[in-house]
């Protein structure tokens, strides 16, 4: 009997069709000129793929809560993303007089209840988990940290306790796809709005804006750093991989764009980029992460700045490695001073 490939499961069918739609964007050259050409074309395509209106609405930035917590000040802020949607975020900053402009870092959370764990909170309670209160600890080291809720999370969530399940996020993604860009594209747009916010804050040095992210938050951080050169220093945890296509941007009403995480990260070159690789990462296989690091360092070598790209393995699970992250931001911030 003739063997015919059949599939009866519609979700797989949908995935297969999407896979067939476009080749992933991938750099295949071997020199700086080829890379710059590829980068220009790729960034252009990504920006078009995001399909986000060029005209921005005013931020209408407001501080709605402010509390001094001894070693730092924590503020809750709101601002507009577009004509119909606002964002909620924490700002943590040192107890400074405001005369000296401070470096700032946008912190993109991973899965969980949103922005709160990055400031050591969850529903009003103390929260210690894989985000390791990084926003607070960086503020204690002299940085201004801005921690927005991503769409579907925390105070920007229609889901129980602001803690979406994967099925909830898929539902949200499909909702956005009906009218334009997918959820990740919109999260990247929102992160660019967070950069706009930092530019408006008088106590922030707008030449020293960094970005960090973990897991899905790292995809957002990588995306905004790739497309927005106002971001000067980057740290990504549990993201880099040699997998050919791991990030999907754009929307279904236009060509869907797929790009590997290493290729997306390469767009950040030659700006300082820390890639944190937990040895026991349940999300990105270690072997894939390790394979991607030489590719990245090769790209940075085109600019003679290999030292600006570091792949750091650490004995951890899905978690930030705070000490190396802090050192990275301090090091490149100080070098900018010099």
């Amino acid at each position: 009997m003739k063997s015919i490939d059949r599939n009866f499961y519609h979700l797989i069918s949908g995935d297969m069709q999407r896979e067939a739609q476009a080749e992933p964007l991938a750099f295949r050259g071997d020199n700086k000129e080829a890379f710059l050409k590829w980068r220009g074309a790729t960034c252009q395509m990504l920006r078009e793929g995001l399909n986000i209106a060029d005209e921005k609405v005013p931020l209408r930035f407001q501080v709605v809560d402010s509390i001094s917590l001894g070693t730092y000040i924590r503020e809750k802020v709101i601002y507009d993303l577009d004509a119909g949607l606002s964002a909620v975020a924490w700002i943590c900053r040192p107890n400074a007089d405001g005369k000296v402009k401070l470096p700032a870092i946008i912190c993109c959370h991973g899965h969980g209840p949103g922005k709160d764990p990055l400031v050591g909170l969850y529903q009003g309670n103390e929260c210690f988990e894989y985000h390791k209160r990084a926003a607070v600890r960086l503020a204690e080291k002299g940085f201004v940290t801005l921690v927005p809720d991503r769409r579907g999370y925390g105070e920007c969530s229609p889901f129980l306790n602001g803690y979406p399940e994967m099925a909830d996020l898929k539902q949200l993604d499909e909702f956005y796809l009906r009218s334009g860009p997918n959820l990740l594209s919109l999260d990247i747009f929102d992160a660019a709005r967070a950069v706009d916010v930092l530019f408006e804050l008088t106590f922030v040095d707008s030449d020293k804006i960094g970005c960090l992210g973990i897991e899905a938050g790292a995809a957002v951080a990588a995306g905004v750093a790739a497309l927005d050169e106002r971001v000067k220093v980057v740290s990504l945890t549990s993201f880099i991989s040699s997998a050919v296509e791991s990030v999907r941007l754009g929307g279904l009403n236009q060509s869907s764009i797929r790009i590997g995480s290493a290729d997306l990260c390469s767009l950040i070159a030659p700006r300082p980029l820390l890639l944190q690789i937990p040895l026991a990462d349940p999300v990105v296989p270690l072997v894939c992460a390790r394979k991607a690091i030489p590719l990245m360092r090769n790209i940075y070598s085109y600019f003679d700045v290999k030292e600006k790209c570091a792949g750091v393995e650490f004995d951890g699970v899905l978690e930030l490695d705070y000490p190396t992250l802090e050192n990275w931001f301090i090091k490149w911030n100080e070098l900018t001073d010099g």
Binding site: F128, L279, A280, Y322
Partner: protein, 344 residues
């Protein structure tokens, strides 16, 4: 009408029970005499709480397979622990024979997940990799120990297929109920299997039976603590990502594999860990462990340290508070067993 506070939920009831809890043998002393008296009393009640244990049978152990890796040797072995139950386990041993011919051994207790496999770097779908237990058995073998990692009941090869027992989070609870109708507790049966694992180690010619350690994280920490408390043949232990007062665990994270009915009427986890005293015990706490938060873990550790102080054995109690989550930190564990099972 009188204003009466009524409670309708189990979590509300449990919170009140915890608040009004006064365990009969909670450790509260400082002298050696008081410690010895407390230990006699609590040990007696602890053994009663373990309840019914199976009848011993001969191990009839077999080596199913043996693979030589560049830095260690891995065997799959199996032995009988009771009339109707066998235990599969990985044994990782050093490539080089010890000068004495016998190595110290460490029982590696797996936590929730795919059972024993993660301890030797085998993850789901037979892929190689690392999880929160970080291939600990391999690392111990590479450092001169014979490391054995058995599957506990309802994990790994001892897990029923999904058409018999669905892969739901209440798997441990179902099995706890299943064995309870025969008068057993699931935790006690697993402790029994741990004791038989020690019997097996004692039967191996390459193991020094006077130098056996035990380690585990999460549910593995439960096993390491209860097994070391119940069997004094374990001469050094490490409990990682587990030590915390029972009442500090939210009701949603309670588990049928990790409960000993009636324990709270006599003491809590600090008292069980106190039965390991004066043997060496390392407690590991990830500062960012959201399952066993450090502030709760440290509170129970402080109670445990009073037992070691009273026994003049404070130097045998170690605390490793590390910048991590719900995971083992392997280097301090290897150093701990080096110190107490090799250097001594």
């Amino acid at each position: 009408m009188a204003n009466i506070n009524r409670i309708f939920t189990i979590s509300g009831w449990r919170a009140q029970m915890v608040e009004h809890l006064r365990p009969a043998l909670s450790f509260d002393a400082s002298s050696m005499e008081d410690y010895q008296s407390w230990k006699r009393g609590f040990e007696k009640e602890f053994l009663k709480l373990l309840g019914l244990l199976p009848e011993p049978v001969t191990l009839e152990s077999e080596v199913i397979e043996s693979v030589v890796f560049p830095t260690y040797i891995r065997e799959k072995i199996v032995f009988n622990s009771e009339r109707f139950m066998s235990v599969p386990a990985w044994v990782c041993s050093p490539r080089e024979t010890a000068a004495s011919g016998r190595h110290p051994a460490v029982i590696c207790c797996h936590g929730h997940g795919n059972g024993k496999d993660a301890l030797v770097g085998i993850l789901g779908n037979n892929k190689s990799g690392v999880d929160y237990q970080k291939r600990l058995a391999i690392k111990l073998a590479e450092n001169g120990f014979v490391a054995i990692a058995p599957d506990w009941r309802c994990f790994g090869e001892r897990r029923d297929p999904p058409e018999i027992l669905s892969l739901q989070t209440d798997m441990c609870d179902r099995v706890h109920i299943a064995v309870e109708s025969f008068g057993y507790h699931l935790l006690s049966l697993n402790i029994w299997d741990g004791m038989k694992t020690i019997d097996y180690l004692e039967s191996r010619k390459d193991v020094d039976p006077t130098r056996i350690g035990c380690v585990g994280c999460s549910f593995g920490g439960t096993m390491s603590m209860f097994l070391s408390a119940a069997d004094s043949r374990i001469s050094a232990a490490c409990v990682s990502g587990y030590l915390m007062a029972t009442g500090d665990s939210p009701i949603s994270s309670l588990c049928g594999s990790q409960t000993l009915p009636g324990l709270l009427t006599w003491g809590d986890r600090a008292e069980v860990a106190g039965l390991i005293c004066p043997r060496p015990l390392l407690v590991q706490i990830g500062e960012y462990d959201s399952t066993f938060p450090a502030r709760h873990a440290l509170s129970e550790f402080r109670r445990l340290s009073r037992i070691y102080q009273a026994a003049d054995a404070e130097f045998k109690l170690g605390l490793d508070l590390f910048e991590g989550c719900h995971e083992v930190s392997t280097t301090p564990i290897i150093e701990w067993f080096n110190r107490w099972l090799i250097k001594l």
